[in-house]
Amino acid sequence: MPTKTYVQTTINGENVEFLCEPRQSLLECLRDVVQLTGSKEGCNDGNCGACTVMMDGRIVDSCLVLGVEAQGAKITTIEGIAPAGGLHPVQQAFLENAALQCGICTPGFIVSSKALLDKEPNPSEERIRFWLAGNLCRCTGYDKIVRAVEDASAKMSKGKKK
């Protein structure tokens, strides 16, 4: 009897098929099966946000989703954030504002921040802090992360006006 399940899904705009055990999380499937190791495991219980990905338009902790649940879904990981030929403004803002130190939480923060700005282009500091409370960072004290999101927001809306 086979021990693995066939899953067909869309990851970063591409059709992806993989086999996974029913007990494997989406995070495990992304990292160990599909070899997209940009999403990180910090706690494996939905508290640190290092594994944040977009799933059908919502941000989820991929450690709390089963791999088999990806069947038919549309998933965006950190590897799918940068447009062709450059970086996404959020990524650029993280670099320019020194919003990372060790970088392990950065993929999760960038996926979450982009999701916020896609939904609300001009969030207040309080709103940014509320939205990002599900992502833990131990290095920065968050100051530069919040400023990076504010910076990205300013640059993105300036870009749109043009």
């Binding site: 007990r23 219980d45 130190q101 833990l136 290095c139 920065t140 100051d143």
Partner: protein, 766 residues
């Protein structure tokens, strides 16, 4: 709240003519880290990879009577099982480089328990299997017969007569002398200056209080990890996230009784450390599994619970501090009794605590007693300025209370007593040029300190802290590329942007842009010895090595230019990146143009340097914090927070600010809500990020910074280490603020709502 001042200020000392130092280029590893491409330890993949898991003791203290691994070995997919029996059995002290000599049996005993399990989470056995899930199932099949023993959980409890003894063969040491006492005290030491009894008699105000703090974790987001291959040729290859690849090489060699040269450690990107990723936990185990499984790659990644229970947090402590001052505010005597939990093996940061406890002040009479106490908790590890935060919490709250009693401004009182160059510390040495006064002055002049305190239950607290920093060895090589860029090779793992700060120091010498230096962190086969990324030493010491290697490049290229021009080498100089003749203005070559000619004029140029610098120069940090404490619940909200620090010279100010902000927030977490919550049997009740609650974005305001540059005369660019000092003052500053808000002095960490309400109720009873 509207603010009209700059959030991040750099107060420069004198005029500097730097072109690269002090600018804010984008870090060299940036693109990899914002796109998910950077490879951390857990990202290691290779064909045929096995996965390891560790069985850990469910008891805080238990004799291991037997271990039966037969059922686990039979599970399909299991390739190897190891226990302490698979370890070499050598004894005695071994040299652990920068960490001094250590007892090899203790080192090994913490990796896999032998005879007794000494804390909940102590590793007992390990399995390698074809998938992590099979390995997990297999450890559940290992049968361990334990005889549960009583546990000793705090320093005062463990020091009591009749306490359960962790190591029956460990006798207390007092300065090189072994006593005959077996009492869970590994070491007692003392520092004495002047006559403390006489000093207290001269004092008009004497305050003495007892303080307790709880075990807290560094809380890096990336769990410990390793991949190991013990090859058929005898070489052991290790990939891991560590603060010190050479330290891992050394420690693994000692634990496995191998020559260091048989081990190659490749440092992967590291997802935070703060002192906690220096010691080895998984590396020797993965090596043993690899060999036993038939020379296969074995990867191990800890769960969050294993990180909390099986790695080294920073300890809980019991402290009694007494300080006496004259009416005019002059401190005349200070005494402290410091008992720190070492965890299950000797080695708490009490020695460092004793060096820092009274360091910010010029005190004529002092006495410090330190005790390193064994308890049934994980063996403690370094955590950002180890020991100094505990000590500052005690001393800074008493200094604040003295200021309040004498009706003197708390910063004025500190300034009156501030340590400066030439002052002898209570632990002996004399201070070189330090920035204590400058930090206090910057705090006093900050708009935050001058702003009115508005609102009910709102109050302000201040505190300062000291960390001495370390130097230690570093190596660097710089190879010049034909296009005028250079490749900088170094051995300090980059935990927070140090590739950039090293590249900038090399670029400054070479007269090129930071972006024209390509820094790479390499494995232990590829660079000379480099000590750990710790002790706030990388920008200082490895930066110095980069500076020296660049100087070596300049020297060689100057000679090359002379050769090309057919002149004497000493008639050529390099100014602002241009090689030129001192006598003939026609003769000049830019760094780039000369680089292009190297291969045809004698071959490539490689600069190299190794350093073991003295003159590290300690760093001071200070905080101003406003809090609001809910009188009904005891919940504390941080309203405004300012951190001021003496950075010597900020190489990349953004990453210096980052250290200050990050250290501050770890200190806020430690002050307000982080703790290992232990039941009476020594089980940690909160080993998840849900229950061990670290600060989130929503708990915090922006963290305003002031970098005060008091150049360190011991470094070519005046750099001081900055990574650690910022964690020292926050719990003390918060304790002073909370104390003022509720009208009761805080003596226990963390100041959780319960602790605050308890203190308020107790004071009302009196």
């Amino acid at each position: 709240m509207t603010t009209t001042y700059e959030h991040n200020v750099v107060l420069k000392s004198g005029d500097d003519k730097f072109k690269v130092i002090g600018t804010r280029p984008i870090r060299h590893d940036g693109a990899d880290k914002v796109t998910g491409r950077a490879l951390y330890g857990a990202d290691f993949q290779t064909a045929g990879l096995l996965h390891g898991k560790i069985l850990r003791s469910p008891h805080a203290h238990a004799r291991i009577k037997s271990i039966d691994t037969s059922a686990a070995e039979k599970l399909p997919g299991v390739r190897a099982v190891v226990t302490a029996k698979d370890m070499p059995q050598t004894t005695g002290d071994v040299s652990m480089g920068e960490a001094g000599a250590q007892n090899v049996a203790f080192l090994r005993g913490n990796v896999l328990a032998s005879g007794k399990a000494l804390y909940k989470g102590h590793a007992v056995a390990a399995v390698a299997a074809t998938s992590p899930h099979i390995a997990e199932e297999a450890i559940g099949l290992i049968k361990v017969d334990y005889e549960v023993l009583p546990a000793a959980l705090t320093a005062p409890e463990a020091m009591k007569k009749g306490a359960s003894i962790l190591h029956s063969d460990l006798k207390m040491t007092e300065f090189g002398q072994k006593t005959n006492q077996v009492n869970n005290i590994a070491t007692h030491f003392q520092h004495k200056k002047g006559d403390v009894e006489k000093g207290f008699k001269e004092a008009d105000v004497v305050i003495e209080r007892e303080f307790t703090t709880q075990t807290v974790h560094q809380g890096y987001i990336e769990p410990h990890n390793v991949a190991a291959l013990w090859n058929q040729d005898g070489r052991l290859l290790i990939w891991c996230s560590t603060q010190g690849s050479f330290f891992v090489r050394n420690a693994t060699a000692k634990v496995l009784d191998l020559p260091e040269s048989q081990i190659r450690v490749t440092p992967m990107e590291i997802g935070g450390g703060f002192g906690g990723k220096i010691n080895v936990y998984l590396e020797p185990v993965a090596a043993l599994l690899s060999k036993k499984a038939g020379h296969r790659h074995v990867k191990m990644v800890m769960t969050r619970q294993e990180v909390f229970e099986g790695t080294g947090p920073t300890p809980g402590s019991y402290m009694k501090v007494k300080i006496g001052a004259k009416k005019n505010g002059k401190i005349v005597a200070a005494q402290s009794y410091l008992a720190f939990e070492a965890g299950a093996f000797p080695g708490s940061p009490v020695g460092a605590a004793a060096m820092c406890v009274f360091a910010p002040y010029d005190i004529a009479n002092g006495l410090i007693d330190g005790y390193d106490v064994l308890v049934n908790k994980p063996k403690t590890a370094a955590y950002r300025a180890p020991g100094a935060t505990h000590a500052a919490f005690a001393v800074e709250t008493i200094v604040d209370e003295i200021a309040e009693k004498l009706k003197i401004d708390p910063l004025e009182l500190r300034l009156m007593n501030a340590a400066k160059e030439g002052v002898r510390r209570v632990d002996g040495p004399v201070f070189p040029r330090i920035g204590c006064v400058e930090v206090l002055e910057a705090m006093k002049n900050h708009p935050h300190y001058k702003a009115p305190i508005k609102g009910k239950n709102v109050a302000r607290g201040v505190a300062i802290g000291f960390w001495f920093n370390v130097g230690l060895q570093s190596s660097c090589t710089i190879a010049v590329n034909p296009d005028g860029t250079v490749n900088l090779t170094e051995g300090s793992t980059d935990i927070g942007g140090t590739r950039a700060s090293l590249a900038m120091q090399a670029a400054e010498v070479l007269g090129i842009r930071a972006e024209d230096v390509h820094p790479t962190v390499v494995d232990t086969d590829s660079i000379g010895f480099t000590a750990v990324t710790g002790g706030s030493r990388v920008a200082f010491a490895t930066g110095w090595a980069a500076y020296e290697a660049a100087q070596d490049v300049v020297k060689q290229m100057t000679a090359r230019a002379a050769k090309i021009w057919g002149v004497e080498a000493d008639s050529v100089e390099m100014v602002d990146g241009v090689f030129r003749s001192k006598t003939d203005t026609e003769l000049k070559l830019s760094f780039k143009d000369l680089s292009e000619q190297l291969n045809d004029t004698g071959g490539p140029v490689i600069g190299r340097a190794t350093v073991d610098p003295q003159g590290v120069g300690g760093s001071f940090a200070g905080n101003i914090v406003d809090v609001e404490v809910d009188p009904e619940t005891g919940k504390t909200q941080v309203l405004r927070f300012t951190v001021v620090q003496d950075a010597g010279k900020a190489v990349h100010p953004s990453y210096v600010e980052g250290q200050m902000q990050g250290g501050s927030v770890q200190g806020i977490g430690w002050g307000l809500n982080e703790e290992y919550f232990y039941g009476s049997s020594g089980q940690m009740a909160n080993p998840t990020f849900l229950d061990y609650r670290m600060p989130t974005t929503l708990d915090l305001p922006m963290i305003d910074t002031v970098i005060v540059e008091v150049a360190n005369p011991g470094h070519p660019y005046g750099v001081r280490g900055v990574g650690e000092a910022p964690i020292v003052p926050p719990p003390a500053a918060l304790a002073n603020a909370v104390g003022h808000a509720v009208g009761v002095r805080m003596t226990k960490l963390p100041m959780s709502p319960g602790t605050i309400m308890e203190a308020v109720w107790q004071s009302k009873k009196k």
